[in-house]
């Protein structure tokens, strides 16, 4: 309880520090996968009755973001497809098989941005090419910025969330789990450390 209060206070102080820092300028960031302050999550409907939630444990990427010139922002992310984790070994084995990701043939998935449009309310859309299962298609990721500022360890960080969705069959994954389960919803939490 005492620990919880302490971390709550620390969190509040940190949040305050984040809001008070307004030194915003163009910078290159590396996604903090080392300390896992980023995650790539997906969900697919299970029979139309509930959500199956999973994630990719191994990925790396970088982005650049300029508050003054958001349109110049870019991002690249590489995902190791075999790192898929839905908290069930037998299902993960199935997802990695040639029914779905076919990871022995397609060990990585990739996103490379091509455009970034920011609205006045802070919401934004990042357009880019997404390569999955050997198929490259343009997708749009709805992005919102959470914050940026100094971290307590001498670095500088900024964080975003993004959501997007796609149909498995659009990427050549023809295995059909039923009409309710054709779409994959991706939720991305990205924290970058400024270089």
């Amino acid at each position: 309880m005492k620990m919880q209060m302490k971390s709550l206070i620390a969190g509040a102080v940190l949040a305050g520090a984040t809001f008070s820092t307004s030194a915003l300028y163009a910078a290159d960031y590396v996604i903090d996968n080392k300390d896992a302050h980023a995650s790539i999550n997906f969900r697919v409907s299970h029979l139309g009755y509930s959500w199956l939630q999973g994630r990719f444990n191994k990925f790396e990427g970088q982005f650049s973001f300029d508050e003054a010139n958001p349109a110049a922002s870019t991002a690249t992310v590489n995902i190791s497809t075999k790192s898929v984790d839905s908290n069930h070994a037998e299902r993960d084995k199935h997802i990695r098989s040639d029914d779905f990701l076919d990871v022995s043939k397609f060990p990585s998935a990739k996103f490379e941005s091509t455009a970034f449009n920011m609205n006045d309310d802070g919401s934004a859309v990042m357009t880019g090419n997404f390569t999955l299962h050997g198929v490259t298609k343009p997708i749009e990721i709805a992005v919102s910025k959470l914050g940026e500022g100094d971290d307590p360890w001498g670095g500088y960080r900024s964080g975003f969330t993004g959501t997007t969705e796609f149909k498995m069959k659009d990427f050549g994954i023809t295995k059909n789990l039923g009409p309710a389960s054709e779409t994959v919803y991706l939720e991305l939490h990205v924290e970058g450390i400024r270089q």
Partner: protein, 186 residues
């Protein structure tokens, strides 16, 4: 003459005979069952029940194998009825390989299902707990091993059966009949 529970130099006893044939029947059934599981689709009614049976039977087999190896280690071994020293060595190697393949088949199967820390429910009767995973993507590696080892086991068991029949019908010795209860001659 009634057959004793224990082996003699001349023949296998009831315990070894029961373990041998019970495990043989189960293993021969488990292989096509495994292939059938592999063929099941997501919407097949058997998608959940048949793997549950396969895993449950596998854990029973593992217990039987442990009992069998213990019994084997404290038992008299009936004499190998082969002629040459080379043949005797091949027989020994083949029998050891059968034991090793059985063990690896069961262990790799266990390692697929327990890779995420989940226990294996044996006929919803009791659970065999998971051991910590030893490698990344253990379920994939163990799955590959499971397929090739069980396939090798079935092929070697087939050769084992052919060898027994050859002894019985060509050499006309007791290699096969001493593993059966029907003949009182031994």
């Amino acid at each position: 003459m009634a057959i004793s529970i224990k082996n003699t130099r001349a023949r296998y006893g009831l315990a070894a005979i029961s373990l041998h044939w019970l495990m043989a029947l189960i293993i021969i059934g488990m292989y096509p069952l495994g292939l059938y599981i592999d063929s099941l689709g997501y919407y097949d009614a058997a998608y959940k029940t048949v793997p549950h049976w396969h895993k449950s039977i596998g854990m029973v087999l593992l217990a039987l194998l442990v009992v069998r190896l213990l019994w084997h280690s404290i038992s008299i071994k009936p004499k190998v009825l082969s002629h040459s020293a080379v043949q005797k060595r091949v027989v020994k190697l083949a029998h050891s390989s059968l034991y090793i393949l059985m063990f690896v088949a069961l262990l790799s199967g266990y390692m697929i299902s327990t890779a995420d820390g989940r226990a294996i429910a044996v006929f919803n009767w009791f659970e065999v707990p998971a051991l910590p995973a030893v490698i990344d993507e253990q379920e994939d590696v163990a799955g590959l091993i499971h397929y090739w080892v069980t396939t090798s086991l079935i092929i070697l068991a087939g050769a084992h059966a052919l060898a027994a029949l050859k002894h019985h019908f060509i050499n006309k010795d007791k290699t096969l009949s001493r593993m059966l209860v029907s003949t009182g001659r031994a």
